[in-house]
């Protein structure tokens, strides 16, 4: 048990999107994007959140920041339930939590210069009294992300993708946040650039002690940066464990399948490659029981009736499966 409470704790968080249909547009169903998710992140830690596209991980990231209102559950940030905050308090809270998006092209306003973009958070939160102080802060931010001072007067369209992502990072850093959601922040970049950006993020974590929720759609990206990894399937977290544990001993068949998809840069290395059958089922009508059972090679009748409860497989290693691949993980 840690003596300190976690920085962020998510309790039974759900997000449903209504579906309207019929002649009068009545409610005909829900998309259960995030389904009863709970986890916590400690200060200075990076939690990697991995899943196929459409599994609800982006929605989860945004719901945590209240960019979307949760349908149920709580988000505790420094023990404060932010889902209950009013607009005023929430705005203040936003200083502490930020987000970096996937698409560096869409996440910068094309009509604003870099200086205007970086200055905006300072103005919103009235962080620096004088223009000179703000200017100084801008230089500092550019320094963090290794961009030159000339960048301030340029427009986003004059930068490359990697540079833009740095600007996004700088913007997120502007308010000195303690927690940043990186929503597939490197997925849109070239592999070489990805590494640069990830390194930058890790450097910043060291330097500023920032906590990350790092969302990605494959396990490989997360490998370097995450201390812990959570795997999500159809709105639910199916497995969560410290990084080492999950890469070496994946318990959930789905995690295993994801892991097997990572190419290994060694021509002699052979490994069993698991190719999942079928598509991701519709989140409107998820399969009964374990959502993964139609694609699972280990599924039994049990899997089709009830959703498996999380089970402990080692220190901090939980998994929701009736037939885990490793019963007990070595410590």
């Amino acid at each position: 048990m840690e003596p300190n409470p976690p920085l962020l704790e998510v309790r039974n968080l759900s997000k449903r999107f209504p579906i309207r249909g019929g002649i009068l547009g009545s409610l005909v169903g829900h998309v259960q994007a995030v389904d009863n998710v709970s986890f916590s992140i400690n200060k200075g830690e990076t939690l990697g959140l991995v899943g196929e596209s459409g599994c609800g991980k982006s929605t989860l990231g945004r719901t945590i920041l209240r960019l979307m209102e949760p349908s149920a559950g709580q988000v505790l940030f420094e023990s404060t339930d932010i889902t209950q905050l009013d607009a005023q308090a929430m705005r203040a809270m936003r200083r502490k939590m930020q987000i970096i998006f996937q698409d560096p092209y869409a996440s910068l306003n094309p009509r604003m210069t870099v200086s205007a973009i970086l200055e905006e958070p300072l103005k919103i939160h009235q962080l620096y009294a004088t223009a000179a102080a703000r200017q100084q802060r801008l230089y500092e931010l550019l320094g963090y992300v290794q961009l030159s001072k000339e960048a301030l007067h340029k427009y986003p369209h004059e930068f490359s993708g990697g540079q833009r992502q740095r600007i996004c990072i700088a913007r997120a850093l502007a308010v000195c946040p303690q927690f940043i959601v990186c929503d597939e922040s490197v997925s849109a970049l070239d592999v070489s650039i990805q590494a640069q950006v990830i390194n930058l993020l890790m450097d910043l974590q060291k330097e500023l002690g920032i906590t990350y929720l790092f969302i990605a759609h494959d396990l490989k990206v997360v490998e370097f940066i995450a201390h812990r990894v959570a795997v999500m399937y159809l709105g639910k977290i199916v497995e969560m464990a410290p990084a080492q544990s999950i890469y070496q001993h994946p318990c959930h068949p789905y995690t295993k399948a994801l892991l097997s998809a990572i190419p290994v840069p060694d021509p002699n290395h052979t490994r069993e490659r698991i190719i999942l059958q079928g598509d991701v089922p519709s989140p409107i009508t998820p399969p009964a029981g374990c959502h993964f059972h139609p694609r699972c090679w280990k599924a039994t009748a049990e899997c089709k009736t009830m959703y498996p409860a999380p089970t402990q497989h080692g220190k901090n290693h939980t998994c929701c499966c009736y037939h885990p691949l490793h019963e007990k993980v070595m410590e």
Binding site: G21, G22, I23, L24, G25
Partner: protein
């Protein structure tokens, strides 16, 4: 959601719009514009007569009852009689619609065909002199006032050169033909400009699609690609644009009809305006609004029917 649900929903959605339209019309013409008695009784009216007439027309009823009357007339299509001419309004509109349509349908068909042909030509010779001059000509045609076209056209082509009838109209085919030619030409000149520009961009949009590149790669000639493939796909926005124009055909061209003495709906409307003939104005407004709504629904439904890419939202 299926097609029928969608169509029915669109129809249901038309009800609040129709209520909105009748409400606006009612507010404007019954509440604001007010008292018809002078229009009806003329300069010799006496006070007692006015009171009697108000009763006769139901204008002494409460506003709510009067609005119900308006609403009822919209749904039963019974608009009563004109104040100015005392004629049955639906009868007037029927006759007027015939005259208007004999002008507007040929003009519309010709203008659309010509516009599509010109647009294809322009797209075919994209960037060349022909394309640029077609675009410039259509912009020029759009930039001249309707009234100038009518006055000049009538004076020069009908009178000085004697090519066309100056004005007038006769019912029955082919008697109306000589009378509609010049008005139809003016109509075409007026509407061809925006249409050519619109269709040209539609065609050019299609030209940039991948399938055109594939067709080119197959070695098909430009002409075949343009007419066989591009036109087929461009038809969807073109047809939508055509359908959406239909309600305006029925109202006709106000000024053109008046100047050429064509007793169409435009003419009726203008007369009604000049006579402050509110029942006719109301009837025309309600009818054209209804047509607009209906044709919008048709366009939407048609669109989803033809183009599977459009999602039913």
């Amino acid at each position: 959601m299926n097609m029928y649900h969608y169509a029915i929903r669109r129809l249901l959605y038309a009800i609040p719009v129709l209520i909105g339209v009748t409400l606006v019309i009612f507010l404007l013409f019954n509440v604001v514009a007010g008292d018809p008695t002078l229009i009806l009784l003329g300069k010799h009216a006496t006070l007692q007569q006015m009171v009697e007439l108000r009763h006769e027309l139901g204008l002494d009823k409460s506003m709510l009852m009067q609005y119900c009357d308006t609403l009822k007339s919209a749904f039963t299509l019974n608009f009563g009689r004109s104040w100015a001419t005392k004629q049955q309004i639906m009868q007037m509109i029927k006759g007027g619609a015939y005259a208007s349509l004999t002008l507007s349908i040929p003009a519309f068909v010709l203008a659309s065909l010509a516009a599509i042909a010109m647009a294809l030509l322009a797209a075919f010779f994209r960037g060349k002199l022909l394309d640029r001059s077609l675009v410039v000509v259509s912009v020029i045609m759009m930039s001249i006032s309707v009234l100038a076209y009518i006055l000049f056209g009538q004076w020069v082509f009908a009178y000085k050169l004697g090519w066309f009838e100056i004005a007038g109209y006769e019912y029955g085919f082919p008697n109306f033909l000589p009378y509609i030619i010049l008005p139809a030409i003016i109509w075409i000149v007026l509407s061809i400009g925006p249409d050519v520009r619109f269709y040209r961009t539609v065609v050019l949009d299609e030209v940039h699609q991948d399938y055109v590149r594939t067709a080119r790669a197959k070695g098909l000639s430009n002409r075949i690609i343009l007419f066989k493939h591009v036109l087929k796909n461009a038809m969807i926005p073109i047809i939508t644009n055509l359908v959406i124009q239909v309600p305006s055909l029925i109202l006709g061209a106000l000024l053109i009809e008046n100047f050429f003495g064509i007793p169409g709906l435009g003419n009726i409307t203008l007369q009604a305006i000049n006579n402050s003939d509110f029942p006719v104005i109301k009837a025309m407004t309600i009818l054209s609004s209804m047509l607009y709504i209906i044709f919008n629904i048709i366009t939407d439904v048609l669109y989803t029917l033809v183009d599977p890419r459009v999602k039913l939202k």
